[in-house]
Symmetry: C2
Subunit: 299 residues, 2 copies
Amino acid sequence: MDPLPQDNGFHIRRTALVGVGLIGGSLGKALISGGVADEVVGLFRREETMKTALAHGLVHSGTMSVEDAVRDAEVVILATGVESIPELGRSVIPFVCKNALLTDVGSVKGAIVREISSFLADRPDVLFAGSHPLYGSHLQGPAAGASLVPAGRLAVVTPASGRSNADAAALEAEKLWRSIGMRTIRLSPAEHDRLLAFSSHLPHVVAAALARTLPAEADMLASSGFLDTTRIAAGSPRLWSEIMRQNSAGVADALQRLIGDLACFRESLLLQDWDTVAALLESAAAAQARVRERAPRKD
Amino acid sequence: MDPLPQDNGFHIRRTALVGVGLIGGSLGKALISGGVADEVVGLFRREETMKTALAHGLVHSGTMSVEDAVRDAEVVILATGVESIPELGRSVIPFVCKNALLTDVGSVKGAIVREISSFLADRPDVLFAGSHPLYGSHLQGPAAGASLVPAGRLAVVTPASGRSNADAAALEAEKLWRSIGMRTIRLSPAEHDRLLAFSSHLPHVVAAALARTLPAEADMLASSGFLDTTRIAAGSPRLWSEIMRQNSAGVADALQRLIGDLACFRESLLLQDWDTVAALLESAAAAQARVRERAPRKD
C-alpha cells in the first residue's frame, strides 16, 4: 500500500462518469473540487438524477447520450452497480478515444475484467484496468454521494493481464485514484475476488444468516451487538445477489472455511473442552484487534 | 414487554451492590440519582475501585467486608461477571436479611438461578429472582458505568421456580428495575438462555469466527462492514468463555441452525441457483429490518 499522495500532477481535461449514483457522484465531486478534471460529464438514464447531480455540483454537465458523454473524454469511469458494468462497457467502447483510460468501480473484478477485455479485443489503443474503490455508505444515489469523500480510502487496481498495455493502463488508473487522495494497491482480478470474499462478501452472508436465524420471539432481546453484527444484511438484496453470482466460487470457498471453524467451535462446546473454547475466543479477539489496526477505515 | 414506567413508588432504604464495575456502577448511579435508594453500599475487592466509585457518586459508601455490605440491606444485587456470581451469592447468603430481595445481573440464567436456589434451600425467607439487565458497553469498570444509563433498556427477570415465593420475588425484582426506568419482561431461566443464545451468544461466536477466518493479507481490504460485523469479537475472552460454558447447550443448538443456513446458502452458490440466493438475501434484509424495529435499543 502506498503512502498518501501529495499532488501528483495528474490532470484530466475531460472525464466521463458513466453512471452518477453514490460512488460516481462522490468521484465527480472529488475530481471537480480537487481541480483534477477541467470538465466532468455525467451519463444519466433519468432527468431527475441529472438535476440532482447538477444541483450538488457532482458533474459540470449531463447527457443521456452515450456518444456525447464518452466522446473526447480522456478518462471514462464505469460507475454503476456490478450487474450493469459489463454491458455499459460494451456500449461505450465504440466511442472511447484512442489512448483514453477506461476503468470501473465494481466490487467484483474477475468477470468484469474478463468481459470488458473481450469487448476490447480490437481496441488495443484503449488503456483498460479494473478498479475497486473501497468505500461506500448504506445510503444510495448522487445526493448521498455529495457528502462521501474518497480521500484517505483505498482503491484496488486490477490489471487486464491479457492486454499488451495492461501495465501502462494500471499505472494510469493508479494515478487517477491518487489524484483524489486515495491510496492504491494492485492485485490480479482473481486475487482481488479471493480476498474480498473473506473481507466483504462473507461478512454479508454471515450477517444475513444471523438475521434469518433469530427466532421472532427473541427480537426484543436483540442487543446492540446483534444489531452491529447484522447491520450489513440490510443492504440491497439485488446488488448483493449479483455480487454473489459474480464471485460464487470465492464466496463458497470462504464459506467452507467459516463453516469448518464454526463446527469446530460447536464440537468444543459439546465436548465441554473449555480450553479450546477460550483459545478460539482469544485468537479471535487478537485477530479483530489486528484488522482494526490495519484496516484503512477505522471507526 | 411493559410500557415505560412512571414513578412506581418503589423505595429502598439500603441497597448492597456486590461488585461495582460497569453494570454495578451504572445501577448505583441510577438508584442514587433517581432517589430510589437512601443508601447504596458497595462491596469491593480493591481500594482503587472503591475510590473511583466514590468519586463518581456510584455508591454512598464502600466496604471490603461481605457482612458489612449486606447486613441490613433490603435489596442485594450481585453485579459481577457470570463466573463469580454463584460463589458470591453463596458468600452473602448468611448475612441477607429476612424478606430482602436478592438478585443478580448475569447474562446467563439457568446455572446461576439453579445454584443460588440450592444455596438458599434453608432460607425460604429470602426473596430471590434472577435478572439480566440488557445493556452494556465495550468499556469496563465503574468509571465507564458512571455514564451508562439503564433507563429505557430492558431487564429480563427469571423466577426461581422451585421456591415457594418465586412469584413474589420476581414481582419485587421487576419493581426494582422499573424504579430506575427500565422495561421488564419475565422468562423462565431456560427460555432466557435459549433465546439469548440466538440474540447475543451466537453473534459473538460468529463475529469471532469471521475475525479468525480473514487471511492476514486481506486485512487492509477490510471494509467498515467487516469491522461492524466483527466488532463484538473484541470482547473479553475470559467473560465470553464463561458465558459459553454456562450456556453451551443453547449455543450449540443455535450454532447448528446457523451452520445449516450457511450450508444451504453455499449449496445454492455451487448449484448456481440464483433465485434461492436472492430469496435468502431478501428474507435476511426483511428480518434485519424487523429486529431493528423491535429491538429495545435502536442505533
